[in-house]
């Protein structure tokens, strides 16, 4: 059984933010809510690395474990989704998530946050697949169309891999072997020896 996963190849990610914008475009995500983001560590110094991060669709999802209304569910192919009709916007999933995936359209007094929004792996939510209702609440359901998340499909350097975990692992392993096989050519271990 395929299990859908994301993997960001840090050696390829260039922080172009295509994934962020692709998600906004495909799912009409409002300003301030970012289902995906790119984080750059060691910005501007040798060793700088960029990583695109969103919901990782955990097997034992902490968000699901702490949700007081139990609105999360996992599809057969391992995509963690949630039901906005059940969500009460309490923020617990945001506290629990290691990746900062849950997002809220508001942050206001009296804990008013609106319904939690997060990456759906472009798989929509409970309403009928690709219905207007589903689009409005969750965005597009590409999985039902036999397509993969647009962030991964649009990635400028094909750093962001989205799809069956085994296939991703396979591709990534090949890349690592290719880089590893030429010790002089990849990575920062050698890069700055000259200077």
């Amino acid at each position: 059984m395929a299990r859908m996963k994301f993997l960001c190849d840090a050696e390829r990610c260039i922080e172009c933010n295509a994934c962020v914008v692709a998600c906004k475009n495909e799912n009409s995500v409002p300003w301030g809510v970012n289902r995906r983001r790119v984080v750059v560590l060691d910005d501007g110094v040798p060793g700088e690395k960029s990583i695109s991060v969103a919901c990782m669709h955990c097997t034992d999802a902490p968000c699901a474990a702490v949700c007081p209304v139990d609105c999360f569910y996992t599809t057969e192919d391992g995509i963690v989704l949630h039901d906005k009709d059940l969500c009460i916007g309490c923020g617990y999933c945001f506290y629990a998530c290691p990746f900062g995936a849950p997002q809220y359209p508001q942050k206001e007094a009296f804990g008013v946050r609106g319904k939690m929004d997060k990456c759906t792996f472009c798989a929509g939510g409970p309403p009928a697949d690709n219905s207007d209702a589903e689009y409005k609440k969750y965005g597009r359901n590409r999985i039902a169309e036999g397509k993969l998340p647009l962030c991964a499909e649009f990635c400028s350097t094909k750093a962001l891999l989205g799809g069956d975990g085994d296939m991703i692992a396979d591709i990534y392993r090949k890349r690592v072997l290719k880089r590893g096989g030429r010790p002089q050519t990849w990575g920062w271990e050698t890069a700055y020896k000259a200077s």
Partner: protein, 65 residues
């Protein structure tokens, strides 16, 4: 009601209550793969039916040609 009676009732209530309050300490109560909310049509489809399409798509996305 005598003390003993009250005690008995209290104990029964305690047992019932404790069982109701129980939440596992370390393991999530959510059951992976088990859906408990409103019916998502995506779930009524067999994932294996999609699997091939998605695998093919992945090859298209990731192939360097």
């Amino acid at each position: 009601m005598n003390t003993r009676g009250i005690l008995a009732v209290a104990l029964v209530t305690a047992a019932a209550g404790l069982s109701g309050c129980y939440e596992d300490a370390d393991v999530t109560v959510h059951e992976p793969g088990k859906y408990k909310g409103a019916a998502d049509p995506l779930l009524s489809q067999q994932a294996s039916a999609r699997e091939e399409a998605l695998a093919k798509r992945f090859q298209i996305v990731q192939t360097d040609r």
